[in-house]
């Protein structure tokens, strides 16, 4: 099979209902979705439409009320808590809206963190950290703590942390929301470049028009269902 057509994520009849003081609030009402390796996908929709819930369930951070999720062919509901942790560690990179770097770790240590969990040898870790810092143009900031960096620099470190372990996919939740438009555009160009260069799969949850414009595929979620799914050439 062409690796580009590998089914990286598949969902079937995903339903998620939250209970709020006894009131049942539907977040997802039956989502069927397939995402292939190498895609650069934007999931868009108004606030409360279910975008974040969908990403949480795809990444195994949350469980659906009903329905199934397969990650790289493995049924998520069959995985134990530890297996899910290990799967996220080894196969999913996360980029958060608020960067969420570990404040007591230096830039290089933040990037190294996941590789330490994976047990990557020291020399290999250092080589990869050096390479990724060069890719995100932060070589001179390796020994700084996150609070000494600008928002754009912190988000670049977050991208480096997400990518350094060579995950199958990167899930990004509003990654440009806290950045000015120029910084956001630069970061988006960098992620497009990484997608094109390394074939890395990116899935964004976003309101940002710029991301939507540059995405190869745009999935619109509205009222907990897929309202439209457009793939661009």
């Amino acid at each position: 099979m062409n690796p580009q057509h590998r089914h990286l994520i598949e969902t079937e009849g995903l339903i998620k209902t939250y209970s709020d003081n006894g009131v049942q609030v539907p977040a997802l009402r039956g989502v069927d979705l397939t995402i292939h390796a190498g895609e650069f996908t934007a999931i868009v929709g108004p606030s409360g439409s279910g975008k974040t819930t969908l990403l949480n369930i795809i990444s195994g951070l949350d469980k659906p009320t009903s329905g199934k999720v397969w990650l790289d062919g493995r049924l998520v509901s069959d995985m134990s808590g530890a297996e899910l942790s290990d799967f996220r560690r080894d196969h999913i990179g996360f980029i958060f809206q608020a960067y969420n770097l570990i404040p007591v770790l230096k830039v290089e240590e933040n990037i190294e963190y996941i590789m330490l969990l994976q047990g990557v040898p020291k020399e290999e870790r250092h080589r990869r950290v050096h390479d990724i810092l060069r890719d995100v143009d932060l070589e001179d900031y390796a020994h700084r703590y996150p609070n000494r960096l600008s928002g754009g620099q912190q988000q670049r470190v977050a991208i480096a942390r997400a990518m350094v372990s060579h995950p199958l996919m990167i899930l990004a939740d509003e990654p440009t929301a806290n950045l000015d438009s120029k910084t956001g555009a630069d970061l988006l160009d960098m992620m497009r470049h990484l997608n094109a260069e390394h074939g890395m799969t990116f899935i964004f949850s976003t309101h940002d028009r710029m991301i939507v414009d540059k995405a190869k595929r745009v999935i619109v979620i509205r009222d907990g269902i897929v309202a439209s799914d457009e793939t661009r050439n």
């Binding site: 990444s59 942790s85 290990d86 809206q97 963190y113």
Partner: protein
Amino acid sequence: MSLYSRLAWRNIFRNKRRTYITGIAVAVGLAALMFLDALYIGMADNMIAAATASFTGEAQIHGRDFLLARDANLTVAGSERLLADLRNDTLVKAFTPRTLSQGMVTSAANVNPVLLVGVRPDTERALSQMDDVIEAGDYFGGNDPQNIVIGRKLADLLEVGVGDRVVVTVSRAGSGELSQDLFRVSGIYRFNTDDLDDGLAFVRIEKAQDMLGLAGRVNEIALSFKDPRVSQDETHPFWTDYSTGGNEALGWPRLFPALKSVYQMTTAASLILGLLLFTVVALGIVNTMFMSIYERMFEFGVLRAVGTRPGGIRRLVILEAGSLALLSIALGVGLGFLVTLIVSLTGVNYQNIEFAGVTIKELIYPVFHLKQYVIFPAGVLLFTLLVGLYPAGFAARMSVTRAMKRTM
């Protein structure tokens, strides 16, 4: 340093003020426990020394049942042979024979019941402190067999001073016939202990034996050991070796049950203080850890999201609690040592205070003991790690999405 250790150590300094306040609270508690334990040991040693060194000795040998009946006719069996054995016993530092009998001392002004003690002044000097607390006259300075040494309270009661004459009346052992003799007060002592200062009168042992009709026999042999711990060890073979032929050898714990209770109380007091400290430690650490966890809820969510297992989160929180404990222990041990050192140089003045029938005569000096620097700090560390399991479990079990709330 491992990843989690490095994270833990840096995390506890994220809120320096809170860490220092908690650390100081635990450190002060540990220092207080160390100091009070040292003081308790010093106080117990002081009281035991006061009780045994003044007159009683660390151990005594009597004829069986003498202590119950206080009958002068119940003498130590084979006392000459025993005295010879004690002279050759390498455990024994000093010993002295005594006669003991109830009697009356009468002066021109008054009369008072006493315990008449017949002593051998040369060996008595090595064992008791009678000669050190003479405040008037001397302690059997000459060879006059009619000399008597009495306490200050008794002298005041009888309205006599050095050189005055008193009559001593006792019952002869066996027959019960009264025996009287005239003595001259040659010395007055002051122990500042009521029982000793108004209830005893000392004469030469030969004179006492003559009055009591004991013909060389003695009622008591008091002794001290080269190693004072022998006197506390009730399983030591010394006691059985000398408890033969109708005799009974007893150490101070059996001679002074109240004092033994005081000694045991110091251990219990340390235990209670320790438990109080550990409770304070537990509450302080748990409170600090929960505050820290709630502040970093999102961060724990991120750590879990990027693949940290629940066990890793648990380990991180326990290491943070352990790091906080180590910091507190370092501070507490230093503080405890310093306070104990200072007070061990100055001493604490409880002089002339009577407790459990014993008057504290010397300054109390805290005593350094290995447990204060090994067991107490280790206890704080272990207890901290133990109570750290609670917040650690909480952090490990928290829902990732709930922790991260608005985002993934």
